[in-house]
C-alpha cells in the first residue's frame, strides 16, 4: 500500500492514472445510453453539446483573459447555418458542420477586431450588443430564416445497420463531435498558438516583447472560440430539429458565461461540469420552487461561487489534493504520528519537495488552476 502511495506523485503514475481515467470515462460515456431512459439520454446529449460551446468560451475567457457576453449569437449563427442548409439546400447533416464551423470562425475573426481596441466592461458591452441584435435580425430575414416562426428541419436519424434508437444514435454522434472538439481545444492550448494566448493573458507587454503578435492572437482567440460555439449550435440543430430566434435570446449568452464560470475558468474539464450545471440545475430549481425557478437557480449559482470560487473544477481539484495529502500522511511510517497534528502547513512527511508540489495539480494539465 505504502509503495503505491509513494509512487503516486511520479510521472509514470500520473500517465497511468490519466490513461485509466480516460478509459473509465470513455466506458461510462459509451455505455450510458443503454442504461438510461430516452429523455435522460437527450439531456446527456445536451450537456455534451453545451460543453463544446463552453470549451470555446473557455478559450476566450478562461485562457485568453477576454470576455464575451455574445457567444449565444455565435451559437445561433451555427444553428441557423445548419438549419438553412438542411431546409433550403437539403444537404446532409454532416455537410453542415464544416460550413457552420468555418462560417463562425470568420465571424469570430471579424468580431475579434473590436476586441483589439476594447477590454473588460467595454468589450462585454459590445459583445452583448451583438447577442441582443441578432434575434430581431433573424426575424427580419424571413425569406431565409423563416422569421419568428423559425425553421423545422430533419433531426438525425439512425442508419438501419446501427440498430439504435434515435436518441442513442444522436447521443453517439454528439459524443464524437464533443470528444473531437475537446481534444482539439486541449491540443490548441498546448500548441504554439495556445502558449502565446496564455502569455498574452498573463502579461501582455512581456508577451509582446517576446515577439508575440498581440492583435493576431487576440483575434484568433475570438475566432477559435466562435468556431466552437458554431459547432455546438450546428449540432443543436441536428438534435432539436427546430430553430427560432427566441431559442437564442441574449439570455443564452449569459447562461453560457455563467455555466463556464461555475464549471471553472481555465480548466480543461470545467466546461463539462458547467454544461451539466446549466442543463440540470434549472430543472432541480423547478422542483424546489414551482413559482420562481429563476430565483433558486440564481441562488444556487451564488452558493457554488461561494463554496468554490474557482468553479466546480477547482473544487474537485482541491478535494483531490487534500485527499491525496491525507492518504500520504496516514500511510507514511509511524514516526510522523506522534507529531502534533496542528503543525501541518509545511507538510513535513511528504517524501520530496517536487513530488509534493506535483501532487497539487493532479489530473489533466501540468498547468495549475488560478487561485
Amino acid at each position: 500500500m505504502s509503495t503505491i502511495v509513494a509512487t503516486l506523485g511520479t510521472d509514470r503514475a500520473r500517465r497511468l492514472r490519466a490513461a485509466l481515467t480516460t478509459l473509465l470515462v470513455a466506458a461510462v460515456a459509451v455505455s450510458a445510453p443503454f442504461y438510461f431512459a430516452p429523455f435522460q439520454v437527450f439531456q446527456l446529449t445536451m450537456v455534451l453539446l453545451y460543453a463544446v460551446a463552453l470549451a470555446g468560451l473557455n478559450l476566450l475567457v478562461g485562457f485568453g483573459g477576454q470576455i464575451s457576453l455574445g457567444h449565444g449569437a455565435f451559437f445561433a449563427a451555427g444553428a441557423y447555418t445548419a438549419a438553412v442548409m438542411l431546409d433550403r439546400y437539403d444537404t446532409g447533416h454532416l455537410a453542415t458542420l464544416p460550413v457552420a464551423a468555418a462560417g463562425c470562425f470568420l465571424l469570430g475573426l471579424g468580431f475579434g477586431v473590436p476586441a483589439l481596441r476594447l477590454r473588460g466592461l467595454y468589450l462585454a458591452l459590445v459583445t452583448l450588443a451583438f447577442a441582443v441584435f441578432l434575434p430581431p435580425l433573424l426575424k427580419r430575414l424571413e425569406p431565409v430564416t423563416g422569421g419568428s416562426m423559425g425553421l423545422t428541419v430533419d433531426k438525425l436519424q439512425p442508419p438501419a445497420w446501427s440498430g439504435m434508437a434515435e436518441d442513442q444514435w444522436t447521443y453517439f454522434v454528439v459524443l464524437a463531435v464533443t470528444a473531437v472538439s475537446l481534444l482539439l481545444a486541449r491540443n490548441l492550448l498546448r500548441s504554439r498558438v495556445g502558449r502565446a494566448l496564455l502569455a498574452v493573458r498573463d502579461n501582455e507587454s512581456a508577451a509582446e516583447v517576446m515577439g508575440v503578435r498581440l492583435s493576431l492572437h487576440k483575434t484568433l482567440a475570438f475566432a477559435w472560440s466562435a468556431l466552437f460555439a458554431g459547432v455546438a449550435g450546428c449540432v443543436y440543430t441536428w438534435v432539436i430539429g427546430f430553430v427560432s430566434p427566441d431559442s437564442f435570446s441574449f439570455v443564452l449568452s449569459i447562461t453560457l458565461l455563467a455555466g463556464l464560470v461555475v464549471g471553472g475558468l481555465a480548466s480543461l474539464y470545467g466546461p463539462l461540469l458547467g454544461a451539466a450545471f446549466v442543463m440540470y440545475v434549472p430543472s432541480v430549481a423547478q422542483d424546489i420552487s414551482e413559482a420562481a425557478p429563476g430565483v433558486v437557480f440564481g441562488l444556487l449559482i451564488i452558493a457554488v461561487m461561494f463554496v468554490a470560487p474557482t468553479g466546480l473544477a477547482g473544487l474537485a481539484g482541491r478535494v483531490r489534493g487534500t485527499a491525496a495529502r491525507r492518504l500520504i500522511r496516514t500511510t507514511t511510517p509511524a514516526a510522523d504520528d506522534d507529531r502534533p497534528s496542528g503543525s501541518e502547513p509545511s507538510a513535513p512527511p511528504t517524501p520530496a519537495d517536487p513530488a509534493a508540489v506535483d501532487a497539487e495539480p493532479v489530473g489533466a494539465p501540468p498547468r495549475p488552476e488560478k487561485e
Binding site: 502558449r195 496564455l198 493573458r201 502579461n203 507587454s205 516583447v209 515577439g211 508575440v212 508540489v357
Partner: protein, 272 residues
C-alpha cells in the same frame, strides 16, 4: 551633444564592429514628460555595456526605446537596421530580446512553457518546421545548463518560483530568442546580493560563450561594472560620462552622481 569620440577608442581592440548598436540623438518620453533628451552612444558587437545613473535618469526609458515599448525620436540602428518606429514584437523579430524590469514572467505557465514562448518568433513559419524545432529543443537544454535550477523546476508554474529563479527564467526566456542584442533591465531588483552576483556571473558566461551583445541597466553600479566592458552614465536624460568600465569605476564623478550631487562637467554644459 556629448562627444561620441570617447566611445569607440578602447572597445576597438576587441572588436571590428564598434557601431553594432548605434544610438544617435535619441529623444523619448511618456506623454508630456520628456525623459531622454538627445542620447548618443554605441555598443560594439559582443560587448557588455552597462547603463548607470541615479533614479529618473532615463535608464529604463533608454531600454524601452531600444525595444520599441516607448516611442522615440532620433536614430537607433542595430547592425544597420533602424529600430525606432517599430513595435516591440517587430524588434523581437529583429533579434532584440528585452528582459523587462520586474521580470515579466508568465506566472500561470510552467517554466518550460515560458522558455518556449521565448522561441515564439523562431517557430512561426511553416517551412522552418522540424529543423528549427530540433534547434529549439537543443537551446532549451543549453538554457537548463546555464540555469540548473530551472531544469529542476521545468514543470512548475513560474509564479511558484523565487524572485531569483524568476529572474533567471526571464533571462533564459530572452536567450531562447537567440538574440543579437540582449537588454537587461535592473536584473538585481529585489534580489539578495548573492543571487544577484550569481546572475551576473551567468550573464558574463553567456556573453563569453555566445558572443551575445548585452546592454544592462543597473542600480548596483559596482556589480555592473565588474561584468561590463564599457559603461555609460546617464543623468537627467543626458549622457554624462562614457568609457571602459575600469575608467568609470575610478572616476570620482560616478560616486558624485550616485550621491545625488549634480555634477555639471564642461562637456555637458554645452547641451541645449
Amino acid at each position: 551633444m556629448t562627444e561620441p569620440t570617447t566611445d569607440s577608442t578602447e572597445a576597438g581592440q576587441v572588436n571590428a564592429e564598434p557601431d553594432f548598436l548605434k544610438v544617435a540623438g535619441l529623444h523619448a518620453g511618456y506623454g508630456q514628460a520628456r525623459v531622454l533628451q538627445g542620447l548618443d552612444f554605441s555598443v560594439a558587437r559582443g560587448e557588455v555595456c552597462a547603463i548607470l545613473g541615479p533614479n529618473g535618469a532615463g535608464k529604463t526609458t533608454t531600454l524601452r526605446a531600444l525595444c520599441g515599448m516607448v516611442r522615440g525620436r532620433g536614430s537607433v540602428t542595430l547592425n544597420g537596421t533602424e529600430l525606432l518606429g517599430r513595435s516591440p514584437e517587430q524588434t523581437a523579430r529583429l533579434g532584440v530580446a528585452h528582459v523587462p524590469e520586474g521580470r515579466g514572467t508568465f506566472n500561470d505557465l510552467t517554466v518550460e512553457e515560458n522558455l518556449r514562448i521565448g522561441a515564439h518568433v523562431r517557430t512561426g513559419r511553416w517551412r522552418r518546421g522540424s529543423a528549427e524545432r530540433v534547434a529549439v529543443a537543443a537551446d532549451l537544454e543549453r538554457i537548463y545548463d546555464y540555469f540548473p535550477k530551472l531544469r529542476q523546476r521545468s514543470r512548475q508554474a513560474a509564479g511558484s518560483l523565487s524572485g531569483g529563479e524568476q529572474q533567471m527564467l526571464a533571462i533564459g526566456r530572452a536567450l531562447m530568442l537567440r538574440p543579437a542584442l540582449l537588454l537587461l533591465d535592473e536584473p538585481s531588483l529585489g534580489l539578495a546580493p548573492l543571487v544577484t552576483r550569481e546572475l551576473f556571473e551567468i550573464v558574463r558566461a553567456v556573453n563569453e560563450e555566445e558572443r551575445t551583445t548585452v546592454v544592462v541597466v543597473e542600480q548596483n553600479a559596482q556589480l555592473a561594472l565588474d561584468v561590463a566592458h564599457r559603461a555609460h552614465v546617464l543623468e537627467a536624460g543626458r549622457l554624462l560620462l562614457s568609457g571602459p568600465s575600469r575608467e568609470i569605476r575610478e572616476d570620482g564623478q560616478v560616486a558624485e552622481v550616485y550621491l545625488g550631487v549634480s555634477v555639471r562637467s564642461a562637456k555637458d554644459g554645452g547641451a541645449p
